[in-house]
C-alpha cells in the first residue's frame, strides 16, 4: 500500500468557552491518498470544519491538545508558524464556503490570485500575473485578462468561488481542502463548481478533502467518505458501501430521512428524533445514543471505538460491531 499523502491521527481540538470546554474535534483519524477526493460529511457543529482548520493550523481560538497531522510523513502540528506559512498555500490550499467574505474587497482579483506564487515561488509581478490569468481561464472565467483587473464585488457568487479555486491552485498544491464550497450557491452554479472540482482533480491530480453536509454531493464526488457526529468519526468507508449498507445508525437514519428527487411514491419521511447534542454537555457513551433507534444498554455507558465492521467499512457502534444488521420500518 502506498503511503497516504495526509494522515490525521487521533486529533483533539478544544475551545474554551464560558460554559466550559468544547471538544470540537475529539479523536479524529483518517487518511487522504494521493489524487483522491475524500468526503467529510456531518451537520453543523459536528467538527468537520474545525478538523479542516486544525490541519491548516488555523483553528484559533481553538487549541490542538493532542494528535498528529502528517503531510508526507511530516507532522504539521509541531511546525513553527514560519514553517507552517510555507505549507499553507504551497502544499495545502483551502477554499471556504463563503466566497463573498474570503476575498479582499479592495484588491483586484488578478492581484489576489497572483499573490500565492509571488509569496511562495518568489515570482515577479509579471510572471505571477500571467500565471494568475492563465489559471483564471482554466477555472472557467471568461475573458480572464480583463476580469483580472476587476474587483471581487464585480463577480457573481459562482464566479467568486472560481476565483477562490484559482487562487488555491496557482501554486499547484498537493492537497485542496474545500469547506462547503457550494453551500452558498444556487444548484445550477453548484453543479458548475462541482464539475470544476472534478476537472481540477483529473487535470492537476490534486487530492481533495470535500467537506459538506450534502449527502448528494458526496455521492457524486467522493470515492471514500467519513461521517462525523459531535466531534467524532462515526463511520468511514467507500462511499458506495456506506450509502448502500450504512454501518452506523446515524448514517443509516440520515440517509432515510432525506427526500429523494428520484422517489417514485410519496412516503412520509422518517426523521431522526431529537437534535444534535450540545458540545459542552455531551451525552455519556456514544453521543448519538439518545437519538438512536438501535441503542442497547452499553451505548449510554461506553464510548465505542471506530472499528472494522463488514468488509470495507469502519463504524463506531456497539450494535453493528456485535454483528447486528441495521434494518427497520
Amino acid at each position: 500500500m502506498t503511503q497516504p499523502l495526509l494522515e490525521v491521527q487521533d486529533l483533539h481540538t478544544v475551545f474554551a468557552t464560558r460554559d466550559g470546554t468544547v471538544k470540537a474535534v475529539d479523536g479524529v483519524s483518517f487518511e487522504l491518498l494521493a489524487g483522491e477526493t475524500l468526503g467529510v460529511v456531518g451537520e453543523s457543529g459536528c467538527g468537520k470544519s474545525v478538523t479542516a482548520l486544525s490541519i491548516m493550523r488555523l483553528q484559533r481560538p481553538g487549541r490542538i491538545v493532542s494528535g498528529r497531522v502528517l503531510l508526507k510523513g511530516q507532522d504539521l502540528t509541531r511546525m513553527s508558524e514560519y514553517e507552517m506559512r510555507e505549507v499553507r498555500g504551497r502544499e495545502i490550499a483551502m477554499i471556504f464556503q463563503d466566497p463573498m467574505t474570503s476575498l479582499n474587497p479592495v484588491y483586484r482579483v488578478g492581484w489576489q490570485v497572483a499573490e500565492p506564487t509571488r509569496l511562495h515561488h518568489g515570482w515577479d509581478k509579471k510572471r505571477a500575473m500571467q500565471s494568475a490569468i492563465n489559471m483564471l481561464g482554466k477555472v472557467g472565467i471568461p475573458a480572464p485578462e480583463s476580469r483580472a483587473r476587476d474587483y471581487p464585488h464585480q463577480f457573481s457568487g459562482g464566479m467568486r468561488q472560481r476565483v477562490m479555486i484559482a487562487m488555491g491552485l496557482t501554486t499547484t498544491p498537493e492537497v485542496l481542502i474545500a469547506d462547503e464550497p457550494t453551500t452558498a450557491l444556487d444548484v445550477t452554479i453548484q453543479a458548475q463548481i462541482l464539475e470544476l472540482l472534478r476537472h481540477v482533480n483529473r487535470e492537476f491530480g490534486t487530492a481533495t478533502i470535500l467537506i459538506t453536509h450534502n449527502l448528494g454531493v458526496v455521492a457524486g464526488m467522493c470515492k471514500r467518505v467519513v461521517v462525523m457526529y459531535a466531534g467524532r468519526i462515526v463511520e468511514a468507508g467507500p462511499t458506495k458501501d456506506v450509502f448502500a449498507h450504512p454501518k452506523h445508525p446515524y448514517t443509516w437514519s440520515l440517509l432515510r430521512s432525506i427526500p429523494r428527487l428520484d422517489a417514485e411514491q410519496h412516503e412520509p419521511l422518517k426523521p431522526i428524533e431529537g437534535m444534535p447534542p450540545n458540545l459542552v454537555d455531551l451525552p455519556s457513551g456514544c453521543s448519538f445514543h439518545p437519538r438512536c433507534a438501535f441503542k442497547v444498554e452499553r451505548c449510554a455507558r461506553d464510548v465505542p471505538a471506530l472499528l472494522q465492521v463488514g468488509e470495507s467499512q469502519r463504524a463506531a457502534c456497539w450494535v453493528t460491531q456485535a454483528g447486528t444488521e441495521l434494518q427497520g420500518a
Partner: protein
C-alpha cells in the same frame, strides 16, 4: 387605485374553484441612481405570472435566488403591493383591498419564514410571539388566550410550558416550530412557507416537513411552499411551479416534472440536483448550464432563459413563449421543449 371598504364576500366561494388565483401578476422595484436618486429602471422581480392554487393542495415554487419566488409569495398574501395584474382569494379580488377588509383577509393567510433566528423577536417570550396575532385579531383574551397559546405549542410538538421562555433558549428546529405555531394562531386556510427548512440541519429538516404535512391534514391547510431544493419541494407538493427571472417556466405534478420535464431550464435544474446514491450519480447525465442568471433589471428579450439555454434559437429572442399545455396538469413555456 380603487379604494375598497370592508365588505362581505361578493359571492359564495366553493372549494371547486381555486382558492388562490394569480393572473398576469407583476411586481417591479424601482432602481435609482445618481445624486438625485432618479428612478433609472426597474427590477422585474415578478413579471407576468399566472398561477392557481386549489383548496387543500400544496403548490411548490422552486427557482434559484433572485428568480422572484419570495416576491411572488409576498405579493400573493399582500405583503407587497403588486405593480400589475390581479390576485384573487376565495373568488374575490384582493389585489388592492385596504383597511378592515385587508385585516380580515390576514386572518385567512399566514406565512412561515426561512430564518428561525431572525424571524422571532428575541425580547418577546414564546407566548407573546404566538399571542401577538391572537391579540391583533382579538381572537381571545386572558385565560382563554393562555390556553390557546399552550394548545398551539402542543400542536407543533412542543412542551406548553415553553411559553414563558425566550427564543434564544431554543434550537433552530424548535424555533421553526414556534414560527409555525404563530402562523397557525389565526386559524388560516392558506399558508405561505418561504424556505421553511433551508436554514435547518439535515437531521431536523425531515421533522419539520412531516410536521407541516401533518398540520395540513389536520387543519385542511393549503400551502404555497417556496424553496430552492427541488427534492424537498417534489416531496411535499402536489404540483410544482418552476420560476426563472420573474416568470413561471413550467408547472406540473412533481413526479411528472421529474420524469418528463419539458422546459430545458427544468431539465438542467433537475440534473444539477445531487441524488444521495453513488450508483445513480455515476450514471447520471449532467446538463450543466453555462453562465449566470441574467439581470432582472434588464431581462433578455423573448424567453428569459435563452441566454443560458442549450436549445435556444433565433425565435426565442423575438417572442415570449406562452405557457402551453402538455396533458392535464402540465404546462411549459418553451418553443423548443424537451421530448
Amino acid at each position: 387605485m380603487p379604494e375598497l371598504a370592508a365588505k362581505p364576500l361578493k359571492r359564495a366561494w366553493t372549494t371547486a374553484e381555486p382558492l388562490v388565483s394569480v393572473s398576469d401578476l407583476k411586481v417591479w422595484f424601482p432602481v435609482s441612481s445618481g445624486v438625485m436618486q432618479r428612478t433609472t429602471g426597474h427590477v422585474h422581480a415578478v413579471d407576468g405570472v399566472d398561477l392557481e392554487i386549489k383548496a387543500g393542495e400544496t403548490v411548490g415554487l422552486v427557482g434559484e435566488s433572485g428568480c422572484g419566488k419570495s416576491t411572488l409569495g409576498r405579493a400573493v398574501i399582500r405583503l407587497l403591493e403588486p405593480t400589475g395584474g390581479t390576485v384573487s382569494f376565495k373568488g374575490e379580488e384582493i389585489t388592492h383591498i385596504r383597511g378592515e377588509h385587508l385585516r380580515a383577509l390576514r386572518r385567512d393567510m399566514a406565512m412561515i419564514f426561512q430564518d428561525p433566528y431572525a424571524s422571532l423577536d428575541p425580547r418577546q417570550t414564546v407566548g407573546d410571539i404566538i399571542g401577538e396575532p391572537i391579540d391583533v385579531h382579538r381572537l381571545a383574551k386572558g385565560k382563554q388566550r393562555q390556553e390557546r397559546i399552550r394548545e398551539l405549542l402542543r400542536v407543533v410538538g412542543m412542551n406548553p410550558r415553553y411559553a414563558d421562555r425566550y427564543p434564544h433558549e431554543f434550537s433552530g428546529g424548535q424555533r421553526q416550530r414556534i414560527g409555525i405555531a404563530r402562523a397557525l394562531a389565526v386559524e388560516p386556510t392558506f399558508i405561505i412557507c418561504d424556505e421553511p427548512i433551508s436554514a435547518l440541519d439535515v437531521s431536523i429538516q425531515a421533522q419539520i416537513i412531516n410536521l407541516l404535512e401533518a398540520l395540513q391534514a389536520k387543519f385542511k391547510l393549503t400551502y404555497l411552499f417556496i424553496a430552492h431544493d427541488l427534492s424537498v419541494v417534489k416531496h411535499i407538493s402536489n404540483r410544482v411551479a418552476v420560476m426563472y427571472l420573474g416568470k413561471i417556466m413550467e408547472v406540473a405534478p412533481g413526479r411528472q416534472l421529474y420524469q418528463r420535464p419539458r422546459h430545458p431550464y427544468t431539465g438542467s435544474l433537475l440534473s444539477a440536483i445531487p441524488i444521495p446514491d453513488p450508483t445513480i450519480e455515476l450514471q447520471r447525465e449532467r446538463m450543466i448550464l453555462q453562465g449566470d442568471v441574467a439581470s432582472p433589471v434588464n431581462p433578455p428579450s423573448g424567453c428569459r432563459f435563452r441566454t443560458r439555454c442549450p436549445r435556444a434559437r433565433e425565435h426565442c429572442a423575438e417572442e415570449v413563449p406562452p405557457l402551453e399545455s402538455y396533458g392535464a396538469e402540465h404546462k411549459a413555456a418553451c418553443f423548443y421543449p424537451l421530448d
